[in-house]
Amino acid sequence: MRSTSFFQRFLSRPEFGPFVLLVGEIVVFTTRSPAFLSAGNISNLLAFTPELGMITLGMTLLMISGEFDLSVGSVFGFAPIVMWTFYNTHIASLEVGFMIAMLLAALVGFTNGWLVTLLKIPSFLVTLGMLLVVRGTALYITDGFPQRTWMASSALMKVIVGEFSVGALRIYASLLWFILFTVILGYVLTQSKAGNWIQASGGNAEAARARGVHVTRTKISLFILTALISAYSGVTSSIRVSAANPNSGTGYELEVIAMVVIGGTALNGGRGTIIGTVIGVLILRIMRNGIVLVGVPGLAYNIFIGSIILGMMALHSWLERRHHAGT
């Protein structure tokens, strides 16, 4: 615990286990498949990863504060539907549609946070209800049909997910946004006063409240942040793939939560890091990509993901117990 050696400190970091797994994964896939490190494959990896990654960043802070959000996948599908519906029906420009979509997402987040904190309903139940309400709304608005997106061209689309190349790599602007969000939220969590409040709210809400920490306000803000970032991610995705499908994002909530917990964030709050989450995102995305390349049937993917979750949870709990053994 009070070791001075750099190596020992590195070993005791909660991200160490996931980091080893990530490196191991990359080594195995690189040696087993020449295509893995090709520019084309890396470009593919970098296309979708930032979109799911953004959601995990918001979810990480929310989970550290002791709550979680199952409605992120629905908001991911709902926000682009709102934006494109306004645009396609000529009610509003794309920019205004975008703002309306973000506002509605903020409202969804606020409602989640309000129900959880003031009515003291567990976030599992609140956000499960919200998952159905938001998904249902997206399906109802569109009659279940995808929205057209290929008619549009706007500077906003370039800013959100414009395409450019670096050498042989094809990069989307969404990667830069993801990196920016990672840096900002990492800073908020570890360096800011708000970050201290987030960790305290999840660690011991009663003690934090007794010290004058605005636990309720902190949690509601994080629900709003998570919904906003999920909506932004959904808009990004819809522009990149040129489709706004009312069903897109289904099941994302569980994949996002899996990524966050694999990265070392506690499901019941108080503990976690942004860098751990980024490692968790990479582990699952590279796994999905790599096992197909090395010839494992794609349908077996979930077996691997499930095993990784179970293995990582066992590791975290073992580390936790060893950590407390000496006290």
Partner: protein, 252 residues
Amino acid sequence: MTNELVRMEHINKYFGRVQALNDVTLSVCHNEIVGLLGDNGAGKSTLIKVLSGALRADSGDIYMHGAKVDIRNTTDAIAQGIETIYQDSALVTQLSIARNLFLGREPVKGLRLLDRLDQDAMNEAARKLLKQVGIKKEIPPTTPISALSGGERQAVAIARAMHFESDLIILDEPTNNLGVEETQSVLHFVRNARDSGHSCIFIAHNIYHVFQVVDRIIVLRRGKKVADDIDPKQTTIEAVEHIITGMTLTPS
């Protein structure tokens, strides 16, 4: 009572039909450690919860520095300079010592928008405070609370109360679940707190601990105050036990 710090007057509290506090009046002076004793269910905890804002009395007044105050919640109590330290210390075990010390009142540096914690200042102040409360071991202020022993945790809680200039520190069973050596260090912290100008209300089941540290003993029995100015130097533990249990006291 010349230099009175806090005064609770005619406090009554009912839980349904049960009267937990019956017209209790008490006061604590500056630089005084008062021991609050009583059997289980005597009303000690209820009285303390009223003073620390965790419960509201049904009737009665509280005065700080002679002025009437309204304590509706724990935040109000802290703002009035009343700090309560419970058995579990009310610390966030995942956070570091420094982050716990300043929780809710974190120093911020640089641009306001950046909301940046002044971690150097926090760690520096924490290091000094730990020394001040009498922790001899060199513990880095970045150590998480979960790595500390029970006595060290109490010390951190006491350090926090001292740093934010709480006038009155309430210690609710601070020595429960602690070993002999740790108990001694907690008692030592309490004496230090008085010497640096704080008043304390000390609640403990263990009368021996109370006798070692307090200036005056107040006894509650079934919600009523039955003794107010027992001087631990002028009496014996047996005599106080008699008062607590309600057996007639025969002067020795």
